[in-house]
């Protein structure tokens, strides 16, 4: 018996450690898949799940909190997705939370993201249904792209007609652009205009010094100065005494 116990304990240790490792592995994998521990279920219905599969992760605020456990087609435009979520996070998911489907990283594994709501303070029930946000579909993007491409087509067509008439038409703008004679004429006109304005300002100067009109200009200048002085006085008075300023206001009235 002495001899036997020499190896049996080693054998026992060997087997125990081996089985323990196996059980640990099974336990941790089960934990990953939310088989052990308390969980609760939520459902949400989508128009399309865009490739979501059973076993994909459910995220809330960027944390993996559960997995998809059921995807069922209800009718031709509704898919109900069931998810199993850890009980710990239930208190953070309110009744107005919304589910949406996005993709995870470059490899395109899909994830279901639960976005918290704003108003509700009520915690979700087990087996409750939460609202869903329709995910952005590639076909939808293509639709809007097509619309703007159509618009671009119309615009470029009109642009072509416009530039053609620019090059070949007889309108004013076309002439302005193409005809050198027109350009010369414009140049001359502008020169004349300049000369004219110069002459006009000289005339004005002359008029100011004319004795018939001098009085009028002087009057104007005086009025300006008076106004400035009045404003200054009013300001000073205001600063000195509010009451006085009021009285003066009454007087002026």
């Amino acid at each position: 018996m002495e001899k036997q116990s020499g190896y049996t304990w080693k054998l026992g240790m060997f087997v125990t450690i081996g089985l323990l490792l196996f059980i640990l592995a099974v336990y941790f994998i089960g934990k990953q898949k939310n088989i052990f521990g308390s969980t609760f279920r939520l459902t949400s219905s989508f128009k399309t799940v865009s490739g979501l599969e059973i076993g994909n992760n459910v995220r809330f605020s960027g944390i993996n909190i559960g997995t998809i456990d059921e995807i069922q087609l209800v009718n031709d435009s509704t898919v109900v997705v069931g998810m199993v979520i850890k009980d710990d996070v239930r208190e953070f998911i309110k009744t107005d939370a919304k589910a949406s489907i996005g993709s995870d990283g470059l490899m395109g594994d899909k994830v279901l993201t639960i976005t918290p709501g704003i108003k509700s303070q009520k915690i979700v029930e087990n087996n409750a249904q939460i609202a869903s946000l329709s995910s952005i579909e590639m076909s939808d993007i293509m639709k809007t792209v097509k619309k703007s491409m159509d618009n671009v087509g119309v615009i470029s067509e009109e642009l072509a007609i416009f530039s053609h008439s620019m090059n070949n038409g007889n309108g004013a703008l076309a002439k302005l652009i193409r005809d050198p004679g027109m350009a010369n004429a414009m140049d001359k006109t502008l020169n004349n205009l300049e000369k004219g304005t110069k002459g006009f300002s000289e005339n004005m100067e002359a008029a100011k010094s004319n004795f018939l009109l001098r009085g009028y200009f002087k009057k104007k200048e005086k009025e300006k100065e008076e106004k400035l002085e009045e404003a200054k006085e009013a300001k000073e008075k205001k600063e000195e005494q509010q009451e006085k300023a009021e009285k003066e206001k009454v007087k002026t009235k």
Partner: protein, 252 residues
């Protein structure tokens, strides 16, 4: 040619009968418990260092070899998951089984072969001990139960080796490494791989015993028995592996 073919089929038939006899005898008392434990010790515990070293090296080498490709795709963070998956699903079971085929199957073949040649088995029969029960059943049972445990050890140590391999180039905390591995594992990765190791173990023991038990007279047949036990067991392991993977693939 025809005779050769006939001989081959006869061999297969004999082996099948031999295996069938195991299932018949394993349930009938008396049980040779002490002999069984002794075989478990010799097969399981004594093979552990060999399996541990191989497992560690496999994990390390696999990590270092697959790293450049994954880096090219910018998927270096998938390295732990990939190494653990390939270790647990395929590499650790097959490598461990092959090592056991080399170490255990040849040992059993040589041992039983020499017993047969020196007429010890006949002597046992004379002294009213069922040699099949005492020698064969205990050994086959021991390999069937010990090889899966050895594979679990190889998995664990291989993952440790992978951790060492990753830390050569980068710096990953052990906790993060383990989390990463369990994230990528599913039951489907572990259960079929574990089930197939029982078959590996059974065939390693069965082939070793069969070859030894049927050694013809003469010393050279002992070497022959040991040799052909290793070759046949290794080949059988690959065939079982192929079948197991195909069946798993079919159902899941």
């Amino acid at each position: 040619m025809t005779l050769n073919l006939k001989n081959t089929f006869e061999d297969v038939g004999n082996a099948t009968l031999f295996a069938a006899r195991f299932f018949k005898e394993v349930f009938i008392p008396p049980y040779e418990t002490r002999q069984f434990l002794k075989q478990c010790y010799a097969i399981g515990y004594k093979s552990l260092p060999l399996v541990a070293i191989t497992g560690f090296i496999m994990g390390l080498v696999l990590t270092l070899q697959s790293r450049p490709t994954l880096v090219k795709f910018g998927a270096e963070s998938w390295l732990p998951g990939m190494v653990a998956l390939s270790l647990i699903r395929e590499i650790a079971p097959v490598i461990t089984a092959l090592i056991c085929a080399g170490k255990v199957s040849s040992g059993i073949g040589a041992e039983l072969g020499s017993m047969k040649v020196t007429e010890q088995i006949d002597a046992m029969e004379v002294s009213a001990i069922n040699p099949y029960k005492y020698l064969v059943v205990t050994r086959i049972l021991a390999t069937t139960l010990m090889v899966p445990i050895l594979v679990i050890f190889a998995d664990a140590i291989g993952i440790l080796g992978g951790y060492a391999g990753i830390n050569i180039h980068g710096d990953v905390s052990f906790y993060r490494y383990i989390t990463k591995i369990f994230q990528s594992l599913e039951f489907l990765d572990i259960i079929p791989a574990t089930i197939k190791t029982f078959f590996f173990g059974f065939f390693i023991g069965m082939i070793g015993c069969y070859k030894g038990f049927n050694a013809s007279n003469g010393t050279e047949s002992v070497g022959k028995a040991a040799n052909s036990a290793v070759v046949t067991a290794s080949l059988t392991i690959f065939i079982i592996d192929m079948l197991a993977v195909q069946i798993t693939d079919l159902f899941f």
